[in-house]
């Protein structure tokens, strides 16, 4: 039962015409859990069920021991301690930015206001926008206001339905850093709906994979991204994420070193403090394998890994090798011929050479 108090439990069944949502999952009560799937997989419907915006045939929802929805009761939307960020900003057209932000804030009691207006204005960089009307804002600005407005209800659960999907590339780039720092600042669980592998790799700690209204898999981001049985590992941009820690800076070569259990890598200089916990994204196609510690090559980042499994990939000439490095998983996409020539097989210790690493947060 103690586990109950730290987790999110959801169980919904809803039938609409041809579509059926039938899910049952648990997610951690902290961090970002991404609900990932293709369009039509039921992600938004699931989020709407959690918010109380849909009327499911069967429903159960429990947030850290508080049940909002079961056979006997279903809290109305306005009583649920959630914040919901919709795909489109959906600001109230008749209110200016400040009034939009105050809308939910005014509707909770003073002692419930854990997040203050000044705080969110600073977090989301809204200082100069407060007196504008919604139609005077860019898409990215509108979405920032919508996020601020939602947060000002001091929610216990943040629901985000593809908040970047309606934005163009610059708009996405504008919001992402805000989201990353928000998730680190706020101590509330986030359910983040997305169909973008890149967003998931960047933001999520936990992953719920939806397919045709059913949960196909749920688990830690690192495990699921590198699971060869799941489609994520076979995307063109398939990547593993590694939790690492900043250990040093090299001013001469303009590098920052990050260490993780079983290895160390250098990336372009980034002014993060020593000890800062960061996430590294390593694309499967950027990892090559060698039988001996590599020498005389330009790639700097190399460390020993243990082969876990060797799997066929989408392209029959390629193989996907899942490796273990200090308890975390890494993917390497190499040719079928190399697998044979080097005799890459499970439990073999090989050297991963990483051509490029992205520092995510």
């Amino acid at each position: 039962m103690t586990e109950n108090y730290q987790s999110i439990e959801a169980n919904f069944r809803l039938k609409r015409n041809e579509f059926e949502l039938d899910v049952d999952f648990k997610a951690p009560g902290k961090g970002v859990s991404a609900i990932f799937g293709q369009s039509g997989s039921g992600k938004t419907t699931l989020l709407r069920c959690i918010a109380g915006l849909e009327n499911p045939d069967r429903g159960y929802f429990n947030l850290k021991g508080t049940c909002w929805h079961d056979d006997k009761q279903s809290w109305p939307v306005h009583r649920r301690p959630i914040a919901y960020v919709f795909q489109e900003a959906s600001l109230f057209a008749h209110l200016n930015v400040r009034k939009n932000m105050e809308y939910g804030w005014q509707r909770i009691t003073k002692d419930q206001r854990k997040i203050q207006i000044d705080e969110v204005v600073a977090w989301l960089g809204l200082e100069t926008l407060l007196d504008r009307q919604p139609d005077q804002l860019s898409g990215g600005q509108r979405q920032r206001v919508a996020i601020a407005r939602a947060l000002l209800t001091s929610p216990q659960l943040l629901l985000m339905d593809e908040p970047l999907a309606s934005l163009d590339t610059p708009g996405k780039a504008e919001i992402l850093p805000y989201l990353e720092s928000l998730y680190q600042t706020l101590d509330i669980p986030v359910l983040y709906v997305s169909h973008s592998p890149q967003e998931v790799q960047q933001l999520a700690d936990y992953l719920i994979l939806l397919d045709q209204g059913k949960v196909k898999a749920a688990g830690e981001i690192n495990t699921l991204l590198t699971e060869p049985q799941l489609p994520l590992a076979h995307f063109e941009d398939a990547a593993a994420v590694l939790n690492a820690c900043v250990v040093g800076h090299d001013k001469t070569f303009h590098l920052t070193s990050l260490a993780f259990n079983g290895g160390q890598v250098s990336v372009s200089y980034n002014a993060l403090p020593i000890g800062h916990k960061a996430r590294l994204r390593v694309c499967a196609r950027d990892v090559s394998l060698a039988l001996i510690p590599p020498q005389h090559i330009s790639i700097n980042n190399s460390f020993p890994v243990r082969v876990v499994s060797v799997n066929p990939d989408r392209d029959p000439s390629q193989m996907l090798v899942r490796c273990d490095v200090g308890g975390q998983s890494l993917l390497s996409r190499i040719t079928r011929r190399s697998v044979q020539t080097l005799n890459i097989s499970p439990d073999k210790i090989v050297y991963a050479q990483v051509k490029s690493v992205a520092l995510m947060k």
Binding site: A51, V77, R80, A89, S90, F92, G104, T153
Partner: protein, 227 residues
Amino acid sequence: MDFTQFDPQPIYLTLRLATITTVLLLCIATPLAWWLANSRWRYRQVINALVALPLVLPPTVLGFYLLLLLGPRGWVGQFTESLGIGILPFTFTGLVIASVIYSLPFAVQPIQNAFAAIGRRPLEVAATLRASPWGRFISVALPLAKPGLITGAVLGFAHTLGEFGVVLMIGGNIPGETQVLSMAIFDHVEAYEYDKAHVLAAGMLVFSFIVLLVLYWRTDQCPPRHV
């Protein structure tokens, strides 16, 4: 033209009737329009059609049935009599009731369209921001439907000014009680007092034109905003 004989009473009476009718119309049409715009009841179109009936019926048909219904043998008439209010036809109150029913579609339809145009999203957003159903209606639906409410009120007012057939059937032509402008004009024409008829008729023509002009000009100035 002899202005010393000019009787402004029909003008006051008409404006009073139109104002009271408009206020009542807004009170009735707004919730009705909200319900029509949001209901998923399968027979809601029956209500829609009933509300729209005055658009197509000759006013005399409406007036005739109202007369029977409100009259001493009608069940509404018997009810009002038992309450001690008396019989409503040929009174100002009767005229107000008839006007409200007659102008109802003119108020309901623009308001209903405005509510429908808002869509579900702003109300869902308001719900996730802790607004109760009533709070959502007051703080989101009404302000966003404001242009429709104004249009409904203006059309209801203007339409009440111009009614004739219903007044003829249920109001009669009692000076100071039910003799509205359109009746007064009719009387003047019947009595060959064309100059008096002209004053009232031209005044109404100009007034109605200005009302409609302001209304259309206004909708042109503030097109609906979608964000």
